[in-house]
């Protein structure tokens, strides 16, 4: 298993060999984000900016006006929060083809705790016009999404988890931007929708239920924006309840996206949002944090059991 940040560094190092438009800007975190892989392979495609995320985003915008397709790399939280105004005004407003590579996104960041937890990024980035928001499930999907993103002509944000997760997809996978991926099907009235690497843990949760003879429909949404709303709705056909699962605050992320669609279409489907409560988290090992916040496979499975329609 490879971490998504590792896949990102390796994929860009490969693309940089043939794409002169590709440059990677680093805010002095290259050994963590794995931008160092690009720097080692193609020093000319690597631009150190120093510990100055706001200037980094501004310089990426400036480079993009000359035909470059810059990748801005940092911990996600520093892109979505520290450089928020720069992303808003110089990338989102201008439609600049700047890619924001959010390493260490989500809750799990090597026990760094609250300062580094990037758990409001969907809410922030979804609210930005012109922004594409991606959250791949595993290393395979990350590699596909990164390749697609490299050619995308507009602002883009992509989550890249720090630590590896069990594979969700195999080498036959194809990435279609905006489209939900049906991971398993069922006629049970409860439909599960997950995103990012939480999809891998949700898959494990559904494996636990499967062993108990409970089979649920599971959708993975790698594109939070623009998402194919009609396709999501289609997958809710026959459902009486839907449960979203995300490594993100329950405010403004996947859960809210699905709730909005259900409300928009007046579906009469109950929506339950599994995610991070509206409070600060802490430093701790991954398993501890996932368990504490209800995102570990067995905690998700327990929650889903309670949501099952009465037999």
């Amino acid at each position: 298993m490879k971490a998504q940040r590792q896949v990102w560094g390796e994929t860009l190092a490969e693309l940089a060999g043939t794409d002169q438009r590709l440059v990677v800007l680093d805010g002095d975190l290259a050994t963590s984000t794995r931008a160092d892989i690009v720097a080692d392979a193609h020093p000319d495609s690597f631009i150190q900016v120093g510990i100055a995320e706001q200037n980094m985003v501004g310089m990426a915008f400036g480079l993009s006006t000359l035909g470059y397709r810059p990748w801005v790399s940092s911990f996600g939280v520093f892109l979505t929060n520290r450089a928020l105004d720069q992303v808003r005004m110089l990338v989102s407003q201008t439609k600049a083809p700047v890619r924001l590579a959010a390493a260490y996104s989500g809750l799990l960041n090597g026990a760094s705790g609250k300062t580094h937890q990037d758990i409001e990024d969907f809410a922030i980035m979804r609210a930005m016009p012109n922004m594409t928001v991606l959250a791949p499930a595993d290393e395979i999907e990350a590699a596909h999404a990164i390749r697609w993103a490299a050619d995308h002509d507009g602002p883009l944000y992509i989550r890249l988890a720090r630590d590896p997760v069990p594979p969700v997809f195999d080498q036959n996978y194809t990435f279609t931007p905006g489209e939900p991926v049906l991971l398993r099907n069922s006629d049970n009235g409860l439909v599960i929708i997950s995103t990012g690497v939480q999809t891998a843990r949700t898959t494990a949760a559904l494996d636990l239920l499967h062993a108990d003879g409970i089979h649920l429909r599971h959708l993975h949404l790698h594109t939070l924006k623009p998402a194919n709303a009609d396709a999501i709705i289609t997958h809710l056909a026959g459902a009486s309840a839907v449960c979203t699962v995300e490594e993100h605050t329950i405010i403004g992320g996947l859960g809210e996206l699905v709730s909005d669609l259900v409300t928009r279409d007046g579906l009469g489907v109950r929506v339950t949002r599994i995610g991070l409560d509206d409070r600060w988290s802490e430093s701790g090992p991954n398993d501890f944090l996932l368990d504490k916040h209800g995102l570990s496979p067995h905690r998700v499975a327990d929650r889903l059991r309670r949501l099952l329609p009465a037999a």
């Binding site: 900016v49 706001q54 980094m56 400036g62 006006t65 000359l66 005004m89 407003q93």
Partner: protein, 292 residues
């Protein structure tokens, strides 16, 4: 460097007309900034009529010089000069801030011909200009990138991230012009040594020493003296490919310059002239022109 002194009356006349367009437009639209556009006007006219290698008929020409108005709230000053330079009709200034207009309160690069960056959130323009200058270096392009900041604006912390980074990449194709007009929107209580009715935003700072310390070339001028402005612009452009350092032009100006009732007071950071004031402005800026 040879300065064509005979051209200065033309530039002075353009600056007077530009100032008239600022006050007239803001009065008509009943919104916009006045003091900053007026302090920057001579610098903008000198840039657009003598220095920038641009073609108003081809505003996206890839090898054009770039100009970023980092103090984006002074947009009407830039729009007035762009109109006079032929990017769009002067009459279009009447649409400023009026809805469905190409002339937004703060510059929008997607809408206005000749605008190279969307600005208005203070502190961002220098970083954008750094990216443009770095891109030009990497691509072997010979254009120059100019960016104008306000002296109040450099209170923004982000500016200093860019100031620190530009010399690292030896961006001698980058020139920052700081319009040191001595006032900001409200600012700080004035002390005895201050020029105006509020304290200078960075009056307590030795800016030339600071920028030299960061590794920049510095040029200090009177930003209302065309001889000095033209000389400074030429000198800065001459640094491209030569000095290995970015250049800052510290242009000492007067906020609201050119109109008696707006000059040297923070109260005209923004505002709308009444009929008497507009008439006085017309007399001061246009009658001179027509008498000449």
């Amino acid at each position: 460097m040879h300065i064509d002194e005979t051209d200065i009356p033309r530039l002075e006349a353009l600056a007077r007309e530009g100032r008239w367009l600022v006050i007239d437009t803001v009065t008509t639209s009943k919104a916009g900034h006045v003091g900053g556009p007026l302090s920057a006007m001579d610098l903008l006219v000198a840039l657009y009529f003598t220095q920038l290698r641009i073609d108003p008929d081809h505003p996206r020409e890839p090898d054009r010089d770039r100009f970023v108005l980092s103090k984006g709230h002074c947009s009407i000053g830039l729009y007035s000069v762009l109109a006079l330079r032929g990017y769009f009709p002067v009459g279009e200034l009447a649409t400023f801030d009026q809805g469905d207009s190409r002339l937004q309160g703060h510059p929008d690069m997607l809408l206005t011909p000749g605008v190279d960056a969307s600005t208005g959130s203070l502190g961002q323009g220098l970083s954008a200009a750094c990216g443009m200058a770095l891109g030009a270096k990497r691509l072997g392009k010979d254009f120059h990138t100019w960016v104008m900041l306000g002296d109040g604006e450099i209170e923004e912390g982000m500016v200093w991230e860019s100031v620190l980074c530009a010399p690292r990449y030896r961006l001698d194709n980058l020139t920052a012009i700081i319009d040191v007009n001595g006032l900001q929107q409200y600012g700080w209580p004035a002390a005895a040594a201050d020029r105006f009715d509020r304290s200078e935003p960075v009056g307590h700072v030795d800016l030339p020493a600071v920028f030299r310390g960061f590794g920049w070339n510095t040029i200090s001028i009177n930003g209302h003296d065309f001889t000095q402005i033209l000389s400074a612009l030429d000198q800065a452009a001459g640094h491209r490919g030569v000095t290995g350092k970015p250049t800052v032009i510290l242009a000492r100006t007067e906020k609201g310059h050119g109109l008696t009732f707006t000059a040297g007071t923070y109260k005209w950071h923004n505002g709308v002239a009444n009929a008497d004031q507009l008439a006085a402005a017309k007399k001061e800026l246009r009658d001179v022109e027509h008498a000449a």
